[in-house]
Subunit: 192 residues, 2 copies
């Protein structure tokens, strides 16, 4: 069971175990004891690396951001129109929502579970949503939207609402995320 990759540091293992457990089981439900056991790290080591559990929540969430954004935004198929780049995000979400036990969006989940906009992890969640919204605004601008900033906020609302629906229903979105985003795009760009 030895790995050919560079060995994980205790910090790597803690960040990975934290991202996984917080996302699957929630933040308050995941005690420090459990976390350290999953990471194979002592509590003493954990507190040497992260001042508090809150800091670990924030850092592990921040660490999962780039991969999630890359997955959503790097639809770099040559010639894909801005409108289609936006819709690709929602198609991907529709698709993800079909996987059994889909746990939703870690950023929305964290903000909702903490319900404290000043918590360092809520700041990370807000930044992530801003980056998604910036992408929508940029593409909407390229597509010639009348009000790209408002459209971007509306699309972010549809993204989070769709995730919320998939989690609440415990079922796939059946194309609703893309369909709803599409209706809002049409309202500003005209049907294509």
């Amino acid at each position: 069971m030895t790995s050919v990759k560079a060995p994980d540091t205790p910090r790597d293992r803690l960040l990975r175990a934290a991202a996984d457990l917080f996302h699957r089981e929630g933040i308050a439900s995941t005690g420090v004891e459990r976390l350290c056991q999953a990471a194979g790290v002592s509590k003493r080591t954990m507190y040497q690396l992260f001042e508090t559990k809150d800091a670990l929540v924030a850092e592990s969430l921040a660490a999962s951001g780039p991969a999630i954004l890359a997955m959503h935004l790097s639809e770099e198929t040559p010639g894909l129109a801005p409108r289609d780049r936006i819709l690709a995000v929602f198609s991907r979400l529709d698709e993800m929502s079909r996987s059994p036990g889909f746990p939703g969006c870690p950023f929305l989940n964290t903000a909702v579970e903490l319900r404290d906009p000043g918590h360092p992890a809520s700041v990370v969640a807000r930044d992530h949503k801003q980056r998604l919204s910036d992408f929508f605004a940029e593409q909407a601008r390229l597509a010639g939207a009348r009000d790209p900033e408002t459209l971007a906020k509306q699309l972010t609302i549809v993204y989070d609402g769709s995730v919320g629906r998939a989690v609440t229903q415990g079922a796939g979105l059946d194309g609703l995320a893309r369909l709803t985003a599409s209706a809002l795009l049409d309202a500003q760009l005209g049907t294509s």
Copy 2:
């Protein structure tokens, strides 16, 4: 500090303390000890009244449903058109989102925090969203929407996404919930 109303039963007090604490601070963060203290009820009594904490989570959530639906849906101003009855729900949400420390929607929060569609409280959350969606579908039908069922699901997505945005941003929605619902209504009904 005596009340002129009929005295609360331990069951009433537990349901009220549970709804309040779970909504403000989260489910996993609120221990049974804390809950019983807030309700002024012994743990023994609590477990006589509710078999498990999960049952209390579900029953307290169910108990808050009627008031929330009534607040949103009873805009019975004579002559209010179906389209305006739908939009009134979103205006009310825009307004609620402005209150400092707005804790979001207890039903969405519960489903997101539990991330377990089979949990009895997730079933309550799902039923509540279905009733909201049924109201939207009924009004959309009266307004002559092409596809009232789909429009109702989309409006529910906008509702939950708007709540998610208000919680993530820690700020009011600035009219975005109504604006987004309005764009989706226009898409099916034509601009009014």
